[in-house]
Each structure stands twice: as C-alpha cells, then as structure tokens.
C-alpha cells in the first residue's frame, strides 16, 4: 500500500486585506491538503484569491483565522523549505545565470561550493547548458523562466509554489515549459502547487485541481485528474481531456 503523506494542511484559513477602514475578505475558510509528490493546480478567475492562498502556503502572509500546518509542524516563523516562481522571472540583471540560481543558497548562508554541482545539473536539466555565465538580459523569456525554475529548486525544497509561471510566454514555449516542469518535478520528487487561469495547463499537469470562486475566495470544487503520468502534449487532443476542461470551465462559469 502506498502511504499518502500530507505535506501541508490548511484548516479554516481566512485572510483579509485592510484598505483604509474597510476590510476586504480575500479568502475565506479554506481547508486544503497538499499531498507529497503531487501536482496540485489552483484555478480561478483573476481576483479570486488564488495568489493569496499561495502566499499563505509560502508563509508570506499570516492568516487572520485558521491554521497552516507544514510538515506536521504548526507554522510560525518564515524558513520553510519552499521554492517559488512567479509570472515574471525576477532575475537579478547583474548576476550571471549560475549566480542567479545560487542566490537562495547564498541567502541561506550555506556553502555555495557544495551546491555548485547541483546548480550546474539543474541548468543542464532545464536545457540551459553553456548559458551558465550569460546574463539574464541575454536570454529569451522562456530561458529566463527556466533560470527562475532552477533557482526555485536549488535548495531542494519539499514544496514548489508556482504563480502563473508561464503566463507571459508564447504558446509554443509554454508547451515546452509544461513538459519541462513535469520532468523536473518527477525527478526532484517535490510537491507542486500551480496557480493558473489556464485550464488546459491545469488539466495537463495536475493530479488534482482545486477550483476557486471569488468574493470572497473560497474552494468551490476539487477535481481529481486520472491520467497516468508522465503525460504527453498529445493528451490535449483526446476526448477525456476536453471533457475535464469543459467541466472545470463550467464550474468557473457559475
């Protein structure tokens, strides 16, 4: 029997933003489990609080109500092992690719030399070999996102948090990145939370999809995607795939 481990548990989590005197409820009463080595996609319309949810998991926002349990520990301080990636690559232009990838290691105060080999390995795995010493502005948008992915993974996080990571890429590059992400995540054996508004992306990559409704952000439904992994891009043109897409679209549309 395969033991399913829960990496992160959210219980009754609510977050509200204060705007002057008014207080706006961003997400309300969220219960969510993130299981080891799964890809969990969170889909929803813009402004539904999916990014807020991600930030709560990352420990960037402290919930007003509810609790976040990370790896069986109540979360209080920062330092949990997560890797993050945003829509914008957020690379430092004065650092080479290699040095950008190693930034988290430097910040954590660990030995850069110890991680050098791993950094080069990640760079190779993401198809950036021979670009170690290039500067970010010498790379295309897709390549910059690959660097950002390496940086998110360098410290062997248990949890990878992606906030619309491929939103600014063109369709062809995006599909390449889907396959790359799938490979890398399987290789690294980390759990992944993928926030996206691209339903096809969610269905293709995720083991489980959480559909969020807005005002306030809450979980409307949860869909298990029963395709075998690894998945290929051709899956998109099957009937089952499109049935999933339609179903989720309808859930969002309500």
């Amino acid at each position: 029997m395969i033991k399913i481990e829960t990496l992160v548990k959210l219980r009754g989590v609510s977050v509200s933003y204060r705007n002057g005197r008014q207080s706006l409820l961003a997400i309300s009463d969220i219960d969510l489990d993130i299981v080891s080595e799964e890809i969990l996609a969170v889909v929803g319309r813009s402004g539904c609080g999916k990014t807020t949810l991600l930030k709560v998991v990352a420990g960037l926002i402290k919930p007003d109500k509810g609790e976040v349990i990370f790896n069986q520990k109540m979360f209080n301080g920062r330092r949990r092992k997560v890797g993050m990636m945003f829509q914008s690559p957020l690379l430092l232009p004065w650092r080479t690719v290699l040095k950008n990838v190693l930034l988290p290691i430097e910040v954590m105060g660990e030995s850069v030399n110890e991680y050098l080999e791993r950094a080069l390995e990640l760079i190779k795995m993401t198809g950036l070999k021979n670009f170690e010493n290039s500067y970010p502005w010498e790379l295309s948008g897709g390549m910059q996102q690959r660097v950002a992915l390496c940086r998110a993974l360098i410290h062997r996080p248990q949890l990878l948090l992606l906030d619309e990571p491929f939103g600014s890429l063109d369709a062809i590059t995006r599909e390449e990145m889907w396959m790359l992400l799938q490979n890398v995540v399987m290789e690294e054996r980390c759990s992944t939370v993928l926030v996206t508004h691209d339903i096809r992306e969610a269905v293709l990559l995720a083991d489980r999809i959480v559909v969020m409704g807005s005002r306030p952000g809450r979980i409307k439904a949860e869909v298990k995607i029963s395709f075998e992994s690894p998945r290929s891009l051709e899956l998109q043109y099957t009937r089952e795939f499109n049935e999933y897409v339609m179903m989720i679209k309808n859930m969002l549309g309500e």
Partner: protein, 256 residues
C-alpha cells in the same frame, strides 16, 4: 542609442561645432569692436591663460580639491543615508521630508552664515560643495532602493532573506548605476558650491579670482577661469562616465 546617432557622425560633429563657435565668437568680437572688459575674444582668453599658467592652475587645483572633497563626503553620506532610509520606512517617513525641505533652501545664501560659524578657512568651501551635491546623489539611489518589485521581496523572503540581506544583495547593486551617474550631477553641484564659497569668503581659488578680476574689469582673466573650469568639469564627467560604464556594465546591457 548608438545605432540611431551614429558614433562616427558624432565624433566628426562635436569638435566641428565647438570650433566654428569659437571662430564665430572671435570674428564677432573683432567685427563689432566689442571692448575686452565686456566680452574678451577667444584669443584674448588664450593669451591670458598662457600669461599666468601657474597662478591659474594652482588656483584651479585648489578649487577642484575642495569640490572633490565635498563630493566625496556627499557621496559617502548619501549612500549611508539612503541605506538607512531604505531600511526603515518609519525613519524615512520622519526624516525624508526634512531633508527635502532643506533642499529647497538656496544653499548659496547659507555661505555667509557658514563663514560666521567656521571662519574663512576651507570648511565653508567643503560644506557648501557638500550641501549642493548631497541631494542630487541621495534621491536616485534611494529611489532605486525603495522601488524593488513587491514580488522580488516576496521571492527573497520565501527563501528566508532578511531585510539586511535584501539590501546587500539587491538594493545596493540595483542602486549602483543610479548612484554612479548621479555623481556627475553631484560633481557639477560641488564645483558650483566651492566657487560660490570662494567668491564670498576666500582669497584663493578660481571663485576668488573671478570675483576680484571682474571688480577690476579684468574680464579676460575671469573668462580664463570660466574656460578652465568648464574644460576640467567636462573631462571629469567623461572620466566618471567611463568609470560608470565599466562598473555597472549590466545596466547598459552591453554584451561581450
């Protein structure tokens, strides 16, 4: 930029424009018979410079020395202050309006007061240079430091970066190109400051020479000082530009 204004054309044009302006100036002064004490001709100015080269250059160096000293103090202190202000929003909220308000005071008007406080020595010159150079250096660096993208902060915090680390790893390198290019504006300001202080309260330096020579209607001497000042300021700003491009190559996206 290089592609639009072709480098070759620029090299040809600038000396040409300067030369024709000088020739035109010389010609007009001769043509309209303008008296020397109103507007000396370029040949008069050159003659004056070659007549007192040591006197002029030693005073030029003196002026430069105080301006540079003022600039260095301004650069160091504005870097330190911008770090402090970037670090703490509370301190920034409290102090920054005071500094901005102080910047609105015409600092040339402060020189007589500085002389009362510090005497006729070098301190008023350095201080005036510092006071004028300080703000133009502070603002760009500080702005660069406090406009780090919110997501960049979140990314860094997500892997445990402290505020101090964010300042060291991101804010300072990010501010570097702005800091270095503001040194040029700062240097011009510092030079103005020193010259003003020399005019008000000194018996040395180009500022003093300009003031005393114009009071004797020795306009060619005043113009000699002006020309020397302009040339030196131009050369130093070129040096600063080269330095800047070398240090923060990444900011100009220059490939190898």
């Amino acid at each position: 930029m290089m592609l639009i204004s072709k480098g070759f054309g620029r090299v040809i044009n600038t000396p040409f424009v300067v030369l024709s302006a000088i020739v035109l100036w010389e010609f007009m002064v001769k043509l309209f018979n303008i008296p020397r004490f109103v507007l000396p001709s370029p040949s008069d100015i050159i003659a004056t410079i070659t007549r007192y080269p040591l006197y002029l250059i030693s005073n030029l160096l003196e002026t430069l020395y105080f301006a540079t000293l003022g600039l260095c103090i301004a650069a160091l202190s504005s870097m330190a202050l911008s770090l402090l202000l970037a670090y703490s929003e509370t301190i920034r909220g409290a102090i920054y309006p005071v500094i901005a308000g102080f910047n609105a005071i015409p600092r040339a008007a402060l020189v007589p007061v500085l002389v009362i406080w510090f005497g006729l020595g070098s301190i008023p010159k350095i201080l005036t240079a510092f006071l004028i150079a300080f703000f133009p250096i502070l603002v760009p660096s500080l702005t660069a430091m406090i406009t780090i993208e919110k997501e960049m902060w979140e990314l860094l915090v997500s892997f445990g970066a402290t505020k101090r680390q964010i300042l060291v790893k991101v804010a300072i390198p990010r501010a570097m190109p702005y800091f270095l290019s503001s040194l040029q504006a700062g240097f011009t300001g510092a030079l103005v400051g020193t010259v003003i202080a020399e005019m008000v309260a000194s018996d040395r330096g180009l500022g003093y020479i300009i003031l005393s020579s114009t009071s004797r209607l020795d306009t060619p001497l005043a113009f000699s000082c002006l020309v020397l000042l302009s040339i030196v300021a131009l050369i130093l700003s070129k040096i600063l530009t080269v330095l800047e491009r070398g240090v923060v190559r990444w900011a100009y996206r220059v490939g190898e």
